[in-house]
Symmetry: C2
Subunit: 225 residues, 2 copies
């Protein structure tokens, strides 16, 4: 009875098309303004404002004022993981799917999940790291080995800086398209950040798709080999 109430509360927040579109847009990881989200959801500003208030009240998103803008973002990695798992169910048990178009293919291959790399390439990367002993996995928790710390530091990531903020440095996240885990947490975010900084890939506008350049893809292969 009580468990159902919790489920329903979150479910109804996600269950409205306008709010769902907002959440999907925020899965991209970048914070968005109320107007941008209104546009994304296809509703007017007043309506969007009401929706955002509900989402914030329910704890799914977090707001930050910046001048006359208000930036909204998912409040937590766990919210992103939940949304991914819902998408996973939608993809498997959902209504008979039309065969996936080219956009879906790109999305499956490489995309941003909140703030880290997901899709086939993300899963492959974690697999390789585990195989090489750079990451140690136990259950959902993951750990960076000494060899891994060395490797990531040489890649240009400041592990010391990561440790300072509160979020777990290393954790995994279930991938909806591949149904395997990929690397999330501080290290996952830092790796994606670095790859974008090195111009290995570019984010496609208004989407979660990551487009790797041919050179970037080759360097990525070498990096994880």
């Amino acid at each position: 009875m009580k468990a159902g109430t919790d489920l329903a509360q979150i479910g109804s927040l996600v269950g409205d098309p306008a709010r769902a579109n907002m959440l999907a847009a925020l899965m991209g990881g970048t914070a968005l303004t109320a107007s941008e989200l209104a546009l994304e959801a296809g509703v007017g500003l007043p309506t969007a404002s009401a929706h955002l208030a509900k989402l914030a009240d329910g704890g799914l998103i977090r707001m930050q004022r910046q001048g006359r803008h208000r930036y909204y973002a998912l409040s937590d990695q766990s919210v992103a993981a939940m949304l991914e798992s819902i998408m996973g169910v939608a993809a498997t048990v959902g209504p008979k799917r039309v065969l996936p178009g080219p956009r879906d293919k790109a999305l499956r291959e490489a995309r941003v999940c909140y703030d880290h790399l997901a899709g086939e390439m993300g899963v492959m990367m974690l697999d390789r790291f585990v195989a090489k002993g750079l990451i140690l996995i136990e259950g959902e928790r993951a750990e960076i080995s000494d060899a891994g710390a060395d490797y990531f530091t040489r890649f240009g990531i400041d592990l010391g800086g990561l440790g300072k903020n509160r979020r777990p440095v290393c954790r995994t996240c279930l991938d909806w398209s591949v149904r395997r885990a990929h690397l999330a947490g501080g290290i996952g975010a830092a790796l994606l950040d670095r790859m974008l900084g090195l111009d290995w890939a570019k984010r496609e506008q208004h989407s979660r798709i990551l487009r790797f350049t041919p050179i970037g893809r080759r360097k990525f292969e070498i990096f994880i080999r």
Copy 2:
């Protein structure tokens, strides 16, 4: 835009209190009849029938006729995992929680998740199995080692029989209370089944709580040690 539609579809299914209560009840793993679910949801039979049709249509549940009864169950482990992840978010970011009562404590300690052991004891069990090399984990996928096969067989589990039906023998599932993985899949179900058969624990009526007997708990400790 499209991603949001998928989210909203599943979300709105979970978002109705009556349906959410039904799903929560089905998380117990046992299949329930329409009347039982109506009672659980606190609605009349016609209403329940309509809800069940929607859930089945959306692919979240699966129906099986048996005489004049119709038994409903979650359609898939992935649905159970999704519901767990939603509960996880509800528990963390949700409305300011009242301090957990004794029921919550029991639920945290040991409960049924669809058809396998979850809660602190479930997480502990998987941790020990991994540490002892009985289960090998790589991402979300898991595997039974040779030593593990031997150990589980001696515990009275027919691993050969497990392999026959289609569901993956070994996989992990994220625990909402502990936020770590526990053991799911065919082996998870078989282990719980065996423990119940050995009278280590009893299921509490109309709830997901597992009550271990003192002796059962001690045997469990030895089993995973």
